[in-house]
């Protein structure tokens, strides 16, 4: 009896739901079309850059990239081969990698130490000092360029990769400390107390407990910091001359824009391909970090 009455009303419900589904789909068509158009608009510039980079040097400064759609034979990887053999672009890419890796590992190391202290160690004025660190978050790096330029010249590390790494480390710290402290503080207190009662030193707790548990936050941070240093222009442009990361190398080519796109377009695409790869590989961490930094 009960099963029969339960089954009886079901068929019309399904029918109705397919009908409403169709209706709903029709109702949503404008939204779908609008979003498709917006999505395409958002893709066009990147696709345009890539296709531009595929033109042979004799075509690239004369033809619009959409010509490749009607004449695919115009596409060639010649420019990529050329910049691969271009000594200055190659060394720029190596420089960028060294700075980005150094400028990611060092601040994370320093910030996780500090983040742990702010989260779990007792010392006077802890909250005030932490507030000061957050305050440093908004100091524009323009405030540091001139004195650091002079300092680097005096110490003799001007125009070195190390000097750029150190600068990126310092300016990455406020956000990194903020993010890691907030994450570390969420680690269950019982875990730490148990470790302390077992007699583990703070350093041991930090290495064996905090770092592994904090890995998700550290990963988000690493991605941010990597992209930040990889994408930097102003620091390298101001504090180095011959130590050129890829952005500066492209910048020095911009003066002849329109006559040397066979160099600019593929170099710009390479400089953007690595961040994009990082983004697609670690999208989840990227978004998490973003939300931790702004919403929470």
């Amino acid at each position: 009896m009960t099963t029969a009455t339960a089954e009886a009303p079901t068929p019309p419900v399904i029918k109705e739901s397919t009908a409403t589904k169709v209706l709903r789909w029709l109702g949503k068509a404008p939204i779908n079309i609008l979003l498709v158009v917006v999505g395409l608009l958002w893709l066009v510039p990147t696709i345009g850059l890539f296709l531009t980079s595929l033109f042979a040097p004799e075509d690239v400064n004369n033809l619009g990239w959409w010509k490749i759609f009607t004449k695919p034979s115009l596409a060639t990887f010649q420019n990529y081969q050329d910049i691969y053999h271009n000594e200055s672009i190659r060394s720029a890419i190596v420089t960028t990698i060294v700075i980005s890796v150094g400028g990611t590992v060092l601040p994370i190391l320093v910030a996780s130490l500090a983040g742990y202290a702010f989260a779990w160690l007792e010392f006077p004025g802890r909250d005030w000092i932490f507030l000061l660190v957050i305050a440093l978050l908004v100091v524009p790096l323009q405030m540091a360029l001139i004195p650091i330029f002079s300092l680097y010249s005096k110490v003799g590390i001007f125009d070195t990769k190390l000097s750029l790494i150190l600068f990126h480390t310092a300016f990455g710290l406020p956000f990194a400390i903020f993010l890691l402290r907030n994450f570390f503080i969420g680690i269950p207190k019982e875990l730490l107390e148990a470790a302390r009662i077992d007699g583990a030193s703070e350093l041991r707790i930090f290495v064996r407990l905090i770092l592994p548990l904090g890995l998700p936050a550290i990963a988000s941070l690493a991605i941010f910091q990597f992209l930040w240093t990889w994408n930097d222009l102003i620091v390298a442009l101001s504090l180095a001359r011959d130590t050129q990361p890829i952005t500066v190398a492209i910048f020095s080519q911009l003066r002849q824009f329109g006559a040397n796109l066979e160099l600019i377009a593929p170099a710009a695409f390479v400089s953007l391909a690595i961040p994009l790869a990082v983004f697609f590989a670690f999208q989840r961490y990227f978004v998490q970090g973003l939300l931790a930094g702004s919403v929470k």
Partner: protein, 450 residues
Amino acid sequence: MSGAGATAEPPVREAPPSAEAGKWRQYAIAAGFLAPAAFFLGVWIVYPTIKTIIRSFYSRDGSDFVGIDNYRALFSSDTLLRAIENNAIWVIVVPALVTALGLIYAVLTERVRWAVAFKTVVFMPMAISAFAAGVTWRIMYQQEPDRGAINAGIAAVKDVFSPTGVLSEAAPSSEALVQQPSGALVLAKPLEPGGVALLGLTRISVDEVPETAKQAVEPKSAPGEITGVVWRDFKPGGGTPGKVESEEVGLPRVTVELLDSSGDKVQSVTSADDGSFAFTDVPDGSYTVGIGASTFVKPFGGVSWLGAKLITPSIIISYIWIWAGFAMVVLAAGLAAISRETLEAARTDGATEWQVFWRVTVPQLWPVITVVFITLLINVLKVFDIVLAVAPQSVQDDANVIALAMWRTSFGGVSDFGLGSAIAVFLFLLVIPILAIQIRRFKREEAEAR
């Protein structure tokens, strides 16, 4: 390495000498954890900040104390005032626009199944450098419609409504033809049936003459018809303007119009390969013959996106392209956290979607909207890379913003560290109010957490 410290410590822990000593030990450990960060923050941020403030009161090379002269220069130099003005435009327009766009995208994506794909596409530009994005947009903004994609798009749309004329450069060869304000060329002398119209044109490049064009022929008068010829009235080595001569070719496919005395179009025909045309069955009366304006429509030369006038809006568009994804993702996360119950309650009470959005969604989302807005505000105040990438050297004065002015003054050739420091301090002063908001928010959140 940590193992050594760990094995050495336990005994001390088990028997703390005294509470006081243990406390100091703890402080020492904390100091050890904080020392590297303190070193970096002190040397690279705190010290330079103080130094820059002091430096801003000294001359270009730092040898003389000049008081507030640098700040005076900051507010009297045209280039710097332009930078401040542009930055003000950025601050007023961009954060609001990007937040609104992000909110629209976030709300719309909640209603489609492929939201993740859309979000990925729109968010993607956040990963790449503002500089590379700028270079990308500079390619899009090129002026020639056969190179710059945006102008190509505009040209394509424009071609549908007013296609480029077949003879865009042509001009009359003699005074017999008069140019009208609309761009049309008409014969000054009215004609009657049996009359002959000679439409001679010059300034037509050889490329513009179709390959099918043949030697022009002097038209013959015919009763009840108005006959004529459109030809290239130019003979190498000279010739008589207004006369059809040998070696002068007819212009095919030109639309010729016959207008009655009141100026209305009665007939229109297309010229043949030798440029000849004829209006047949023309009733008695007085007519004018002319070539319609559409024949002479100039090709679209392209909007000068990178010119002095449009450069700031152009850069702003590329900036929005980068940041809309950020606003969308953060706001979408905020939307997901809104309680469904309140939305459903409003709907069952009969509120329209529009009312639900403005009265329920937006108020609940307000804290997140504020965060997005402030983040954008800070970034817009410091905007730099993208301006340098999109704006060509020649219009950098017109596109100038504070951070760019600071760099150009200090490192980009001028080497005035005094003025450069003053600009940096000015920028710093602009972000301090935002800093105050940030700290207040943080303190409130800490209080709530406890």
